[in-house]
C-alpha cells in the first residue's frame, strides 16, 4: 500500500510535462472544490470563525466572565453588540470565546465518531455474515442506549473534561454513521467496477477504502455537516450533567439553554448564540455540499 501513498502524495506536486496521466482522486477533488464559490465562501467563513475564536483573547471586547450586575439582561447596544446576559456579561464576547469550545467539540466529536462509524459500517456491509450481525447489533444497542445514561456513565468512569465530552458525543454518532455507510456499502459492493477492481487484484481492504468508500461519502458528508450542529447542542446538554465545559465557560449550547428561561423577556440571550450555531451549521452544510459536488465526477 506504500506505493499508493507514493502516488497519492507525489501527484499533489505539479507535473513537469504539463499532463499528468495519473491524477489522484484527491487532487482531482481539490481542483473541483476550489471552483465551487459558495462552498469556498462557507469554508472561508468557517476559517474566519476559527481564527476569530483563536484570537478571542485579543479581539473580544470584554472579558467573557466579566460581570456587571448593573447591566443585566440588556438588549443589544453600541456597548454590547449582542446585549448582556443575566450577570451582565457581554454576549458577543462570550460567543467569540465560546466558538473555541463549541467548534472544536462539534467538529472533533463528529469526525471521531464519523471515522469510527464509517469504518465499522464499511466492514459490516462489505464482509456481511456474522461480522455484519455483530457490528449491527452493537450499533442497535448503542442507538437504543439513552444518551444521558451513557454520558453519566462516562462521567462516572472518565470524569469530567472536555475530551470526554468529545468521546461521549462521538459515541452517539458512531452507530448512525455505521448504519448509513453499511446501507450504501451493501449496494455498492455489487457494482461491476468493484468486481473489476477485484479482478485486477485489489485486496479487500483497499477495495473498501478506494472503491466503495467514495460512493458512500455523499451521504456521510451530508450527515457530518448536519451532525456538527447537533453535537454542539448535545455537548451543552452534557455540560449539564457535569461532563465537559463547566460554568462560566461560554459554550454556545449552554448559553442557548441558559437563555431559554428568558425567552419572551430577554430573547436576545438565546437569539445570538442560536444565530451563531445556525450560521455555523449553515456554513458547514454549504461546505458539505461543495465537498459532495467536488466528489461527484459527473459535475465538472
Amino acid at each position: 500500500m506504500t506505493t499508493t501513498d507514493a502516488i497519492g502524495v507525489a501527484a499533489a506536486t505539479p507535473s513537469d510535462t504539463g499532463h499528468e496521466a495519473v491524477r489522484s482522486p484527491l487532487r482531482e477533488f481539490w481542483r473541483k472544490f476550489r471552483r465551487n464559490r459558495t462552498a469556498m465562501a462557507a469554508g472561508i467563513c468557517l476559517l474566519a470563525l476559527t481564527l476569530a475564536a483563536a484570537a478571542a483573547p485579543w479581539i473580544a471586547p470584554y472579558d467573557p466572565a466579566g460581570f456587571d450586575y448593573d447591566r443585566i439582561l440588556e438588549g443589544p447596544s453600541a456597548d454590547h453588540w449582542a446585549g448582556t446576559d443575566a450577570y451582565g456579561r457581554d454576549i458577543f464576547s462570550r460567543i467569540l470565546w465560546g466558538a473555541r469550545i463549541s467548534l472544536s467539540v462539534g467538529l472533533l466529536s463528529v469526525l471521531l465518531g464519523g471515522v469510527a462509524g464509517v469504518a465499522l459500517g464499511l466492514v459490516a456491509g462489505f464482509r456481511g455474515g456474522w461480522v455484519d450481525s455483530l457490528i449491527m447489533r452493537i450499533c442497535d444497542v448503542l442507538l437504543a442506549f439513552p444518551g444521558i445514561l451513557l454520558a453519566i456513565g462516562i462521567v462516572a468512569i472518565l470524569g469530567p473534561g472536555i475530551e470526554n465530552v468529545i468521546y461521549a458525543v462521538a459515541i452517539f454518532s458512531v452507530p448512525v454513521f455505521a448504519r448509513l455507510v453499511r446501507g450504501s456499502t451493501l449496494s455498492l459492493k455489487r457494482a461491476v467496477y468493484v468486481d473489476a477492481a477485484r479482478a485486477i487484484g485489489v485486496r479487500d481492504r483497499l477495495l473498501m477504502v478506494r472503491h466503495i468508500l467514495p460512493g458512500t461519502l455523499p451521504s456521510v458528508i451530508v450527515y457530518v455537516s448536519m451532525r456538527i450542529g447537533t453535537s454542539i447542542l448535545t455537548a451543552a446538554s452534557l455540560s449539564f450533567i457535569g461532563l465537559g465545559a463547566q460554568p462560566p465557560s461560554p459554550e454556545w449550547g449552554a448559553m442557548l439553554a441558559d437563555g431559554r428561561s428568558y425567552i419572551g423577556v430577554a430573547s436576545h440571550v438565546t437569539f445570538y448564540p442560536g444565530l451563531a450555531i445556525f450560521l455555523t451549521v449553515l456554513a458547514f452544510n454549504l461546505l458539505g455540499d461543495g465537498l459532495r459536488d467536488a466528489l461527484d465526477p459527473k459535475l465538472r
Binding site: I7, A21, V22, V192, A196, I200, G201, P297, K298
Partner: protein
C-alpha cells in the same frame, strides 16, 4: 403487431419519400471540458424519411452517440449542450417543430412516442431495481394506452420476438441477472414497444450473436414496413450496414465526411476515411485454408487528415501468429466447471428454479495461445470468464492456473494471481469506477501489484507509472491527456479501449477478453486486435477471447470453443471448426454471419418463432451433459440433442 410470423417479400429499391421525418441541419453539440467547452459534434446535417433507414457509421468517438442523444435532447441531461443548428421533426400529428430550441423538459411527450432509442450500453441503461417486465410494460402503457395486465402481455410478446428464452420467467427478473446480449434485446424490445415513428438504434447488436442479430434486424425491418418507421442505425458492423441501410452517413472526428446511398458508399467511397473503413472490414473466410491466425492488414487511417487524399501504399502482408508453445503445460486448465444461479421470486422468494449457466465445461489454454469462446447470447460465456476470475463462485469443477488449483489459494494468493490473469469485462462502462479518472483506473493494477514499468532510467516510480499510462492509452488509440477524464466522458468504444489498456498494464500472462472489441469501429478494431496479437508474439500472452464476431474470431484464434446452453458443444482448431463445423449450432452460426455487401443483402423477413432452449431448469431437473468426442485432430464435438438435431 399480431401475427408472429410475417413472411413478406419487399421491394428493395425504396425511393426516399419526399417529406422527411427528421431533418437535422448544422447541428453542433458541446461539452464543458477542463478548458472551456469542447465541440464533439460539429455542423452535422442529414435527413431521415419515413420508412427509411439511415446508418451512421464512423470512427469510435466521432460523435455518433452524442448526435443521436441530441436528437432527443437527452444530451442535455448528460451535461452537453446544443450550440448550433436545428432538428426539425415531423410529429405524428403532422406538426413540424424544431427540437433543438425548447427546453429539454418540454420534449417529454415526444420521447418514446415519436422517437425511441436503443442505447449503446445496455448494461447500464436498464434500471437495476425494476424487473424487466415492469420496464417494458411501462413503455407499453405509456405509448399504447394499455392497462397493466395487457401491457405485461405485450411485453411478453415483445420478448418472444427478440428471441429471449423463457420470456415469461424473464419478466420477473432483474437486469443484473441477464447476460449482456439479453439486456440488449430487452432494450430493443422496450424501444420497439413504444412504436415510435423514428427509431434510433445505437449499436443495437454489439452484444448479440449473429443468429439473433439477424432476427433483430428482421424485426426492425418488419415494424418499419408496417408503420413507416424511420430508423437511424448506428453501427460499426459494415455487414449490418450493407444489410439494413438505405443511406449511410459517415462521421469522422465530430463531422460528417460523407453521405450517400448504401450502394454508392460501398461501391464508390469518396472520403479517405470511408475508404479506409471499408478496406478494413474483416471478412469471414479471409483465412480460409490458413491454419494459424493472422493479423489484419495494417491501415494508416490516421494519415487521412482532414480529407487530405491518402491512398497509402498497400500494406505489407501481415505475419502469421505462430506463438503457441504446445509443448508447455497448459496455462489455464478448466475442468468440469459448473456454475448455476438460483432463481427466486419476490423479496422473500423461495427457490423456484436454477439457471444452469455453465455446465461441466472443460478446456485448456496453452501459453501463447488464443482460445476463442463463441456461442449464442446468454449461453454462459461471461459466466465462465467470471468464474475463472473468482468473481462468481463455481458450483463445482476445478480451475488450475499455471498448475495451481485456484481454489487452494488464500485471499493473498488470489490477489497475486490477478497480476497474471486479467479480465476485460463485457461492459466497459460499468467496470470503470465512475469516481476515478481513467488514468488512475489504468494505473491501478500497477499500483496494486507494485509493478514497475520498464521505463527510461532516471524516472521516479510515479513518473514511470504515468509514462506507462500514457503509453498504454496511446497504444489503444487514445490520447495521454484523456487520462484526466472520467469514464462518463467517453464514447462506448473509447471506454472499451480504456479497459483494454488497463488489462495490458501489468503484462499479464492471460487475458480473458469478454467481447473486448465489440464496440469498436473496424479500423480501430483492427489496430487493437493487431496490438493484442503483437503482444502475444512478443510476450507469449494467452487469450481467452470471448466474442460473437466470427470474422474477428477467425483472425485471432488458434482454437475455438463453441458454447451452447452452458455446455461446450464443439472444440477444435480454428480452421477445423470454421471450415468443417460439426455441431448444428456451429453450422447455424457460420451461416448467419452478414456479409458487407449491399448487393448481396437478403430480404428474407421470416422471424424465428417457437420454443427457444433455455438454461433455466426446475430444481432437480439436471441437464444431460454429453462427453466431447473426437472427430478430427484435436477437434471434438458433443453429440447430443442439445442445440439441434443430430
Amino acid at each position: 403487431m399480431s401475427g408472429a410470423v410475417a413472411a413478406k417479400a419487399v421491394d428493395t429499391t425504396r425511393a426516399p419519400l419526399p417529406v422527411p421525418l427528421l431533418s437535422v441541419e448544422g447541428l453542433s453539440v458541446a461539452f464543458d471540458g477542463e478548458h472551456g467547452p469542447v465541440r464533439v459534434v460539429d455542423d452535422i446535417s442529414f435527413t431521415v424519411a419515413p420508412g427509411e433507414t439511415v446508418a451512421i457509421v464512423g470512427e469510435s468517438g466521432s460523435g455518433k452517440s452524442v448526435t443521436s442523444l441530441s436528437l432527443m435532447r437527452l444530451v442535455d441531461y448528460a451535461g452537453g449542450r446544443i450550440v448550433g443548428g436545428s432538428i426539425r421533426f415531423k410529429g405524428r400529428d403532422g406538426r413540424e417543430r424544431d427540437l433543438a430550441s425548447p427546453p429539454a423538459e418540454a420534449l417529454t411527450d415526444m420521447r418514446g412516442n415519436d422517437i425511441a432509442m436503443v442505447f449503446q450500453e445496455p448494461m447500464t441503461s436498464l434500471n437495476p431495481v425494476f424487473t424487466i417486465g415492469d420496464q417494458i410494460a411501462e413503455a407499453v402503457m405509456l405509448h399504447q394506452g394499455l392497462d397493466r395486465k395487457a401491457a405485461r402481455a405485450e411485453a411478453l410478446r415483445m420478448l418472444e420476438k427478440v428471441r429471449i428464452p423463457e420470456p415469461a420467467r424473464l419478466l420477473d427478473r432483474h437486469p443484473h441477472q441477464l447476460s449482456g446480449g439479453m439486456r440488449q434485446r430487452v432494450m430493443i424490445a422496450m424501444a420497439l414497444s413504444c412504436r415510435p415513428s423514428l427509431l434510433i438504434a445505437d449499436e443495437p447488436t454489439t452484444a448479440l450473436d449473429v443468429t439473433i442479430q439477424a432476427q433483430i434486424l428482421r424485426l426492425i425491418r418488419l415494424l418499419q414496413d408496417e408503420m413507416g418507421m424511420g430508423v437511424i442505425f448506428i453501427t460499426h458492423d459494415m455487414g449490418v450496414v450493407a444489410e439494413v441501410a438505405d443511406r449511410v452517413v459517415v462521421m469522422w472526428r465530430g463531422r460528417k465526411v460523407e453521405e450517400g446511398t448504401v450502394e454508392r458508399i460501398f461501391q464508390a467511397p469518396q472520403h479517405p476515411y470511408t475508404k479506409a473503413l471499408l478496406s478494413a472490414v474483416p471478412k469471414l473466410g479471409a483465412l480460409r485454408g490458413q491454419d494459424l491466425p493472422m493479423r489484419f492488414p495494417l491501415l494508416v487511417v490516421d494519415g487521412a487528415k482532414d480529407g487530405a487524399k491518402n491512398d497509402a501504399a498497400p500494406p505489407a502482408p501481415p505475419p502469421v501468429q505462430d506463438t503457441v508453445r504446445a509443448a508447455d503445460a497448459p496455462l489455464l486448465e478448466v475442468r468440469d466447471l459448473t456454475t448455476r444461479f438460483d432463481v427466486r421470486k419476490g423479496i422473500f422468494g423461495s427457490l423456484k428454479a436454477r439457471v444452469h449457466a455453465v455446465e461441466k465445461v472443460s478446456f485448456a489454454v496453452r501459453p501463447g495461445e488464443t482460445l476463442a469462446l463463441v456461442g449464442e447470447s446468454g449461453c454462459g460465456k461471461s459466466t465462465t470468464g467470471r468464474t475463472i476470475m473468482g468473481l462468481q463462485s463455481a458450483t463445482s469443477g476445478s480451475i488450475r492456473f499455471d498448475g495451481v488449483d485456484t481454489a487452494t489459494l488464500d485471499s493473498n494468493g488470489q490477489a497475486k494471481l490477478k497480476e497474471k490473469i486479467q479480465y476485460i469485462f463485457q461492459d466497459p462502462f460499468a467496470s470503470l469506477n465512475p469516481r476515478m479518472t481513467v488514468g488512475f483506473s489504468v494505473a491501478e493494477p500497477m499500483l496494486v501489484h507494485d509493478y514497475v514499468p520498464t521505463a527510461k532510467p532516471g524516472l521516479s516510480r510515479r513518473r514511470a507509472v504515468e509514462e506507462r499510462v500514457a503509453e498504454l492509452l496511446t497504444q489503444v488509440g487514445l490520447k495521454p491527456e484523456h487520462a484526466r477524464r472520467y469514464p462518463h466522458e467517453f464514447s462506448g468504444g473509447q471506454r472499451q479501449r480504456i479497459c483494454i489498456a488497463r488489462a495490458l498494464a501489468c503484462d499479464p500472462k492471460l487475458i480473458i477478453a469478454d467481447e473486448a472489441v465489440a464496440a469498436l469501429d473496424v479500423s480501430i478494431q483492427a489496430q487493437i486486435v493487431n496490438l493484442l496479437m503483437e503482444l502475444q508474439a512478443k510476450r507469449g500472452l494467452s487469450y481467452l477471447f470471448i466474442s460473437h464476431d466470427m470474422a474477428v474470431v477467425e483472425r485471432v484464434s488458434h482454437r475455438v470453443a463453441v458454447m451452447y446452453l452452458g455446455q461446450i458443444v464443439e472444440l477444435g482448431p480454428r480452421r477445423a471448426v470454421f471450415e468443417n463445423p460439426q455441431h448444428p449450432y456451429t453450422r447455424r452460426l457460420m451461416a448467419a454471419v452478414p456479409i458487407a455487401d449491399p448487393s448481396r443483402r437478403t430480404r428474407d423477413l421470416r422471424l424465428l418463432t417457437g420454443e427457444i432452449a433455455s438454461p433455466i431448469r426446475n430444481i432437480g431437473d439436471e441437464p444431460a451433459v454429453q462427453p466431447l468426442v473426437p472427430v478430427g485432430d484435436g477437434h471434438f464435438v458433443a453429440r447430443h440433442a442439445v442445440g439441434g438435431d443430430f
